[in-house]
């Protein structure tokens, strides 16, 4: 292996200087590529896998969104039919309303709750306890996601569920509902899963941002009498906007594309009350074998999620980097 050293472009300092000198004229020449064969050889298995299994499927999806596509049958081009079908489908407005509800809630649960938790931990003075809390917030993540959802399904059980047990014990019999089985409530019951939504990853990301704020900023603020909640509003929030932006994007993509919890808890029911486009995509592919239609819905969701990402990227502008360490 080491015999290849002489051809490696970054091997010796002199080689690198030579390469730099030649760069303006020959950086993209055949010779330059040949000198770097080792880098390309090392990257080739990565790109081979990426091209077949990562680049190809979404491109195929973009194309097949305009086709009628079933396993074992040649695909036929149908133009915009799949999109027209989806937008004229009677349940579609309902699905979009559900997505908006999930989005509003997702932004609150994904951005605000972790921020509150991070600030609380950040205000703790004892370093040992701070470290302990940092570890404790990730405990809910030790339970697999599917188990959390299945557990909540048991908590919501109208007859054997602890939530209704508790309501009955408090004499609130009339509020002991079939949480996942009622049209009006089911979507909110799905949102409530994971209460109080103190999400470990979000909290730790915020703590990272808060930890990078320079101590001199806080000292100056304290001299001006800016402490406690005032400091949070005027200093901490503007300085963690980079983290807010990241979590906002994650929350938007999640709210628009995720349907795993709904699939497990209600499968879109009762009736169509908790249907979302992602679940329709899933059903039309794996129950109705309409893969072209399904790809079209996937493409729509991609466009919505991408637009949301771009809006957030433009809309949230992080404060001056100089105030960080």
């Amino acid at each position: 292996m080491s015999s290849a050293q002489s051809t490696q472009t970054d091997s010796a300092p002199s080689g690198r200087i030579l390469w730099r000198r030649m760069r303006p004229t020959t950086s993209l020449s055949w010779r330059a590529f040949r000198r770097s064969w080792q880098a390309y050889a090392l990257l080739s298995p990565i790109f081979a896998l990426l091209i077949v299994f990562v680049y190809y499927p979404p491109i195929l999806g973009l194309i097949r969104a305009f086709f009628r596509w079933r396993p074992g049958v040649p695909a036929t081009f149908v133009g915009l039919d799949n999109f027209v079908t989806y937008f004229t489908y009677a349940e579609t407005p309902h699905e979009l309303v559900n997505i908006v509800k999930l989005l509003v809630f997702g932004l609150f649960a994904g951005i605000v709750m972790p921020f509150i938790m991070a600030e609380l931990i950040f205000f703790v003075r004892s370093p040992a306890l701070k470290e302990l809390y940092r570890l404790l917030v990730i405990i809910p993540m030790l339970v697999p996601g599917i188990v959390t959802v299945l557990l909540w399904q048991k908590l919501y059980d109208p007859y054997l569920g602890p939530i209704n047990d508790m309501l009955r014990a408090m004499g609130l019999e009339q509020f002991a509902l079939n949480w996942l089985g009622e049209h009006r409530i089911a979507i909110y019951a799905i949102m409530f899963v994971g209460f109080p939504w103190v999400w470990g990853v979000g909290t730790l990301i915020y703590l990272g941002g808060l930890g990078q704020i320079s101590e001199s900023v806080y000292e100056a603020a304290a001299l001006d009498g800016c402490t406690g909640v005032g400091r949070v509003m005027r200093i901490d929030i503007p300085l963690v906007l980079g983290q807010v932006r990241l979590l906002a994007i994650l929350a938007i993509i999640n709210a628009i594309t995720a349907f795993q919890n709904i699939l497990v808890l209600t499968d879109g029911g009762p009736g169509f009350s908790t249907m979302v486009p992602g679940l329709t995509m899933f059903h039309s592919a794996f129950r109705a074998q309409k893969f072209g239609y399904s790809s079209a819905i996937g493409l729509l969701l991609f466009i919505i999620a991408m637009s949301g990402t771009l809006i957030i990227n433009r809309g949230i502008r992080p404060a001056n980097e100089e105030l960080r360490q």
Binding site: M1, S27, A32, F33, L60, P71, V240, Q243, A305
Partner: protein, 288 residues
């Protein structure tokens, strides 16, 4: 109070507010842990206890629930560990190599190639889910373990290269210089120098990747129809739906014991590597 004021260099909130802070944090943590506590409590009950004393602790604890749970979910657990470990090995190797190449080697088109990989982080899975299923179908990979391993090995290095490039850039150049003077080639620069020095980065990547694999649900749900090859998430999902099982698995304690068992690999992982995970998230100051 006054002594506390003296002790704190800058006048942060006083002792009383610190106490309130601890209570509030403890309250929020407790609320998030309630489902977990209920799960553990229920995992020790028999069918009657589950029916009539759900809230209290039933003594003696029925540890045998865990044995009957293991009998049902052992294949799922082993499958998931197997698939996740093989996939993880591939992800770590490719991410280390990719991270090294993009951090330490100079070659034409380096940055365009790097961004061609990083841009894939922006493609939501929803766009590729359906066509990827058809691709695996056409390749005859459905209902094989390859359908679970390949997506991870192919897709895992996207974030892995991003993480490892940042990590490897931080290794002092002098180490590489002296190794090159001793005649080390690219391969030994990767394995003798980069690998041992980037273990914390690889640990962070391992936790992220393993947790994601352990939690994967929708993809195995549609690609694996043979339950003997199925993973734990789908296995538990199916079991929660079958109530007429011979060991009344779906109704009583054993199901919850199964839930607890399914969490144990993640607990072990976090005990061993959790520190890297927390530090990786907190100290990197990740943002957009």
């Amino acid at each position: 109070m006054t002594t506390d004021l003296k002790r704190s260099p800058n006048r942060r909130p006083l002792q009383m507010s610190q106490l309130g802070l601890h209570l509030l944090i403890a309250f929020l943590l407790l609320l998030s842990l309630i489902p977990t506590v209920i799960m553990i409590n229920l995992s020790f009950k028999n069918g009657l206890q589950y029916r009539w004393e759900r809230w209290s602790l039933s003594l003696p604890l029925r540890g045998s629930n865990y044995l009957s749970a293991w009998d049902v979910i052992d294949a799922y657990m082993i499958n998931t560990v197997l698939v996740a470990m093989v996939g993880l090995a591939g992800v770590l190797i490719l991410s280390l190599i990719g991270g090294y190449v993009f951090a330490r080697m100079r070659f034409p088109l380096r940055e365009p190639l790097y961004y061609a990989i990083i841009a894939l982080l922006m493609v939501p899975w929803v766009l590729s889910f359906i066509p990827a299923y058809m691709l695996y179908n056409n390749l005859g990979l459905l209902n094989t373990r390859w359908a679970l391993i390949i997506p991870n090995v192919a897709g895992g290095p996207i974030f892995g290269i991003f993480l490892m490039r940042a990590f490897i850039t931080g290794i002092p150049e002098e180490l590489y210089e002296s190794a090159r003077c001793d005649g080390a080639g690219a391969w030994s620069l990767i394995w003798r120098i980069t690998f041992p020095l980037s273990l914390p980065g690889l640990a962070t990547l391992s936790v992220l990747n393993f947790v994601a694999e352990w939690n994967s649900f929708l993809w195995p749900l549609v690609t694996i129809s043979d339950m003997s090859k199925q993973v734990i998430s789908v296995g538990l999902f199916r079991l929660s739906r079958t109530t007429n099982d011979s060991v009344d698995f779906g109704s009583g304690g054993p199901l919850f014991a199964g839930y607890v068992l399914a969490s144990i690999p993640l607990v072990i992982l976090f005990i061993v590597l959790g520190k890297f995970y927390v530090e990786g998230l907190v100290e990197s100051g990740i943002k957009m």
